[in-house]
C-alpha cells in the first residue's frame, strides 16, 4: 500500500512538469549592464522566441531534409556562382543592407543558404514528383481544359448550342464569358480553385468531353476537357505541378512528417502549429 501511494504521488508530481521551455547554454551571461539594470542572453532568446520565429524553424528543418535528400552537384555550384554574380551586380552597394535584413552572415552564407537551398528544394520537389508520379496523378487529377463563365443561364445555353453546332470554344468564350475565364487552354488540378461542380465534372472525365451548362450559385460554367488522360501530357503535368506553390508546400509537409519533425519547446510549438499545422510529427 505504501508503495502504491508512493507511485501515485510521484505520478502527480510528474504530471505537473511536462511542458518544456528550452533555453540556451549561456543564458545567465550578461549581454550588457546599464546602471542597476542587466540583461542576459536568456532574455534575448526568450523575446526572440516570442517574436514568432516559425519561419526560421521551418528553414532550418527544411535545410536538414534537403541536405539528406539532395546532394549538391557541380552543376548546381556553377549555376549558383552565376546567379550570385548577377545578383551582386543588381544590388550593387546595397548588398550589406540586404544580407543584414535577411539575416545572412556574408555573401557565402547567402550563396549557400539561399541560392543553393533553392536549387536543392527544386531538386527535391522533382525527385518526389518522379518517385510518386502515379500517386500524384491519382491525387491531383491533372487535366487540360477550356472554361467559360456566363452569368445568364439563357446566354450560357446559347453558347453551348453554338459550340455543339461546331463553333470554336474559345471564340464563343470571347463573346459571352466573364473576363476571369477566357476559354483558353488551361492546365488544372485539384489544387486549382474552381467551383465544386466544375471540379467534379472535370475529375470524372476519362476522354475529351464538352459539359452541359454547369450551374454554380448565381453563375454558370461551360467546360471542355481537352486532355483527360494525364499520362498523355506528362511534361505539362510536371512543369505545372513543380511550380505550383500549393504542391511544393504539400511535398514539404510530406517530408517533414516523414522525417518525424518534432518541436520540444512549448511556446515555439504553439506558434509554429498556427502557421504550419501539417508539418509536425508530435
Amino acid at each position: 500500500m505504501k508503495k502504491l501511494l508512493f507511485i501515485l504521488s510521484i505520478s502527480l508530481v510528474l504530471s505537473a512538469c511536462g511542458n518544456v521551455t528550452t533555453t540556451i547554454s549561456n543564458r545567465n551571461d550578461n549581454v550588457f549592464t546599464v546602471g542597476n539594470q542587466s540583461v542576459n542572453w536568456g532574455q534575448i532568446y526568450s523575446v526572440m522566441l516570442l517574436s514568432d520565429p516559425s519561419g526560421v524553424v521551418r528553414t532550418m528543418a527544411l535545410e536538414i531534409i534537403l541536405n539528406q535528400e539532395v546532394e549538391i552537384t557541380a552543376e548546381m555550384e556553377s549555376r549558383a556562382d552565376e546567379e550570385l554574380a548577377n545578383f551582386l551586380e543588381t544590388v550593387g552597394e546595397s548588398i550589406d543592407m540586404y544580407l543584414s535584413y535577411y539575416g545572412f552572415k556574408d555573401i557565402e552564407d547567402f550563396r549557400r543558404n539561399s541560392i543553393l537551398v533553392q536549387y536543392q528544394q527544386e531538386a527535391l520537389i522533382l525527385k518526389y514528383y518522379e518517385e510518386n508520379i502515379d500517386d500524384i496523378i491519382s491525387r491531383y487529377r491533372p487535366r487540360k481544359v477550356r472554361i467559360m463563365e456566363v452569368v445568364d443561364p439563357e446566354t450560357a445555353a446559347l453558347a453551348l448550342s453554338e459550340i455543339r453546332a461546331g463553333a470554336d470554344f474559345q471564340s464563343v468564350a470571347e463573346l459571352y464569358s466573364s473576363p476571369q475565364f477566357s476559354g483558353t487552354e488551361t492546365f488544372v488540378s485539384n489544387n486549382t480553385q474552381l467551383p465544386f461542380l466544375v471540379r467534379e465534372f472535370i475529375n470524372f472525365q476519362t476522354v475529351p468531353t464538352l459539359s452541359d451548362v454547369i450551374p454554380a450559385g448565381t453563375t454558370n460554367y461551360l467546360v471542355q476537357v481537352i486532355v483527360a488522360d494525364p499520362y498523355k501530357m506528362l511534361d505539362d503535368v510536371r512543369e505545372n505541378l513543380i511550380s505550383d506553390n500549393s504542391f511544393v508546400e504539400q511535398v514539404i509537409e510530406h517530408y517533414m512528417r516523414a522525417y518525424n519533425f518534432t518541436i520540444f519547446d512549448r511556446s515555439l510549438f504553439d506558434l509554429f502549429i498556427q502557421q504550419f499545422p501539417n508539418y509536425l510529427g508530435n
Binding site: 501515485l8 505520478s11 502527480l12 510528474l14 504530471s15 505537473a16 511536462g18 511542458n19 518544456v20 528550452t22 533555453t23 540556451i24 547554454s25 549561456n26 551571461d29 550578461n30 549581454v31 550588457f32 549592464t33 546599464v34 546602471g35 542597476n36 539594470q37 540583461v39 542572453w41 532574455q43 534575448i44 532568446y45 526568450s46 523575446v47 526572440m48 522566441l49 516570442l50 517574436s51 514568432d52 520565429p53 526560421v56 524553424v57 528553414t59 532550418m60 528543418a61 536538414i64 531534409i65 539528406q68 535577411y102 539575416g103 545572412f104 552572415k105 517533414m256 522525417y259 518525424n260 519533425f261 518534432t262 518541436i263 520540444f264 519547446d265 512549448r266 515555439l268 510549438f269 508530435n282
Partner: protein, 323 residues
Amino acid sequence: MLAVLKRQWFIVVVALVLFSTLIFYVYEQNKDNLPARRVGGKDIVFAVGDVNVSTDEFFERLYAQFGIDAVYMFFDRAVVDAAIPDSNVFTTKAQIDAEGVRRNFQEYYGPSYESFLVDALRSLGYSTINDLERYFVYVYKRQEMFKAYVDENLDTIAPDFKQTLMPRVVSHVLVVMDDPLNPTAEEQARLDAAQAAWAEGMSFEELVRNFSDDTSNNLTNGLLGYMDVNTNFVLEFKLAALRLEAGEISDWVRSSFGYHLIRVDATDIESLSIYQEFYDAILGQDQALQARIIWNKATELNVNFYGNDELVVALKKYMGIED
C-alpha cells in the same frame, strides 16, 4: 490473499476507483504535453529525423535575423529603467491607460480579446496580459527621460525647431455651419451676431462664452493648445494660425467646420513646454534624436557590454550613432 480481499471488498473498490481517477487525471494532464530532449548537456529545440538542433544552434540563426532588434529593445528599456525611477504617478497613469486599452480590446474583439492583446504585447517584447501596465509605466518613464534631455538642451534644439515647425499655442471661437458656403438663415444670423459683437469690442473670452460652438474648449476660453506646421488641423485654419504672431487675432476664417476667429496665445518656449505635443514634435522632427538620447544616457550610466565589441558596433549602427 483472496480471503483478505473478500473481507475488505469495500476498501478494495474504493482504492480501485481512486486509482483509476488518478490515472485518468495524470493522463489528462500529460496528453498535450511535449517531450523534453537534452543531448550533451544542451536543450534540443527541435529534431528532424535523427538530427537534433540545439537551442544554441537555433539561437545563432535567430540572432542573425532578429537579434539586434531584440537587443535594442532591451537596451532602450534598461536605459529608461536605470535613468528614471518608478513613481506612483507613472503607476497610476499606467493603470488607467491599461484599463482603457483592455476595455477597447474587449469592445472590439469580444470575449477572446485577451489573445489579441497578448499578441500586441508580444510584438513589444512582453509575454503576458499582466505586462500591459508595465509597458505603460515604461512609456511614461521614457517620455520623462526625453523631456529632461530636451529641457536641458533647449538652447541648442529650440532655435532650429521653432524656425522649421513654427510651434504655437492657439485658441479660437467657432461658429459652426453644416455647409459654410450655403449657411442657413439661423447659422448666418449667429455669425452676424458674433461678428457684430466682435466689431463692437466684445473681448475674445466673452465671445467664446457667448458664441463659440466648440464645446470641447468653450470653458477654457477657446483654448485648442499646441500646434505647428505638422498638426492635423484643416488647412484654412492652419494657414491663418501660422501667419499670426503671439498675441495677434485673425480675421474671421472660413473652414469646412464654419467660421473661426483665431488667437495665437504664445510662441515662447516656456508656454509651449507645458504641452507633451511640443516634446513629441521635437523628437519626431529628428528621428535620430531619440536614439542619441538613449545612447548618451547609457554612456552616462557607464554601460558595460562585457567586451563584446561586435555587439557595440552592431548596436550603434542599428541606432544610427556615429563616433
